[in-house]
């Protein structure tokens, strides 16, 4: 009887004294590489710290599909609902999924709706023609291929392909020999602006299949 009671007590105490993680402070402050550096393999949060480093490098590389996969792995770890690692991973997952969705909506064929020449003094529309096809890459989710088809002013069209690195706000600015080209996706469509010595040529494009 006495032995039984002692064994019962010991098992109760073992259940209560789950080994706390030494690296929780680093994890709470988002210092995941420092956490990995300080953790031993026995630390209960070592796996979480390593996966967070992987998740952040994928997210910083704009590999959104890979980031979602890693975030799901973190979700499966035995972490409490309010654990800072779980919350951060979930936020990154939601951000990556939102970007994938936005890029899906942005990809497609665009046709010119309006074309405006702004020479600094006045704005006037000019005749323009053609369309552009936009697709986004994988794993480089923000690297777009922009295919021009008979695009531009009616007397000088271009038909070529450009690879453009977009920023997460879905805009891009590319320096040219004299001026620059900017691309901005918005809810309304795509605006392509060619800025040069003669002023700005602004093309407002609308998705063809909408």
């Amino acid at each position: 009887m006495r032995m039984f009671a002692i064994v019962l007590l010991c098992s109760l105490l073992m259940g209560c004294s789950e080994e706390p993680s030494r690296i929780q402070d680093e994890l709470d402050m988002g210092q995941y590489t420092k956490a990995v550096d300080q953790a031993t393999r026995q630390d209960p949060m070592d796996d979480a710290a390593q996966l967070m480093v992987r998740l952040e490098t994928q997210f910083a590389s704009y590999h959104f599909h890979d980031a979602v996969t890693t975030a799901r792995k973190i979700e499966q770890l035995p972490l409490t609902q309010d654990n800072s690692v779980r919350l951060r991973a979930k936020s990154i997952q939601l951000s990556a999924e939102a970007m994938i969705e936005r890029l899906k909506q942005a990809a497609g064929t665009y046709q010119i709706e309006r074309s405006i020449l702004d020479d600094g003094l006045q704005e006037q529309s000019f005749p323009a023609t053609g369309q552009v096809k936009v697709s986004f890459g994988k794993p480089h989710t923000l690297l777009a291929t922009i295919q021009y088809e008979q695009f531009g002013t009616t007397d000088a069209t271009r038909s070529d392909t450009e690879t453009v690195r977009f920023e997460p706000d879905l805009s891009a600015r590319l320096a040219q020999s004299e001026g620059l080209v900017s691309y901005v996706f918005s809810r309304a469509g795509l605006t392509v602006t060619f800025e040069g010595p003669g002023g700005k040529r602004i093309y407002q494009l609308k998705k063809a299949d909408q």
């Binding site: 007590l9 259940g15 939601l94 690879t163």
Partner: protein, 230 residues
């Protein structure tokens, strides 16, 4: 003093019946003789009861703690996790003028953002000419030490040769490959691709950065850039 329960006559101390009505004294307490004899105390029983009480206390504290945990989980669920604002993780805000302290150390994503924003200065660094340019006007100086900048100028020769074209080379991709902390410094390895204006040719580099916290801001102290053959 005790009295007879029938007639109320005062009783003598040792009396077994009332001196007046002869009513027997039934429930007269005789404390000095009637004290119960306590059985010998068993020390094992003491230990056992202590263990049981202790176990119960630990158990109830554990249950209470578990219940508070469930409660806090519920409050978290009440405020659902949201996606991060794009400005938090993109390059909208510049990383080179962020300051840190021991209370506000750089998070690991801050280091990645810092290196990613540095790569945007690389096309400009490739055009640096010792003869004609002032060092201070180059953005890379905001991120890296003078030694690191000069090693970059030497390592970016391929881009520099191609950048005779009026169109500057463009950053295309930055892939973070390895990211570790060693004490106070950070090591980041990237694979970077730049597009040259001439015929859309691509140049890929394998780059190793050493980043450290210099007083209150981040600084790249060492860069090893190796061109990866296509």
């Amino acid at each position: 003093m005790e009295r007879c329960s029938l007639c109320g006559t005062p009783l003598e101390t040792e009396a077994t019946a009332c001196s007046y009505c002869k009513h027997p004294v039934l429930k007269k307490q005789r404390f000095d003789e009637d004290l119960p004899v306590t059985p010998p105390v068993n020390p094992r029983r003491h230990v056992l009861s202590f263990i049981i009480i202790f176990a119960l206390a630990v158990g109830s504290i554990g249950t209470w703690y578990a219940l508070t945990q469930i409660d806090s989980a519920r409050t978290t669920l009440a405020a659902p996790v949201q996606a991060l604002p794009v400005s938090d993780w993109s390059d909208e805000t510049s990383a080179y003028n962020q300051t840190y302290s021991s209370e506000n150390p750089p998070a690991s994503y801050d280091i990645l953002k810092f290196v990613r924003q540095y790569t945007q200065t690389v096309p400009e660094t490739a055009n640096y000419s010792k003869a004609t340019d002032t060092l201070e006007t180059f953005s890379a100086i905001q991120f890296a030490t003078l030694d690191a900048f000069q090693s970059e100028v030497g390592a970016l020769r391929t881009i520099h040769v191609a950048s005779d074209s009026p169109i500057p080379p463009r950053l295309q991709t930055v892939d973070f490959k390895r990211f570790v902390s060693k004490g106070d410094s950070y090591q980041v390895r990237t694979i970077e691709t730049y597009q040259l204006p001439a015929g859309h040719q691509l140049v890929t580099y394998d780059v190793r950065y050493n980043v450290r916290l210099h007083t209150d801001h981040l600084q790249i102290t060492h860069i090893v850039r190796t061109e990866v053959p296509a």
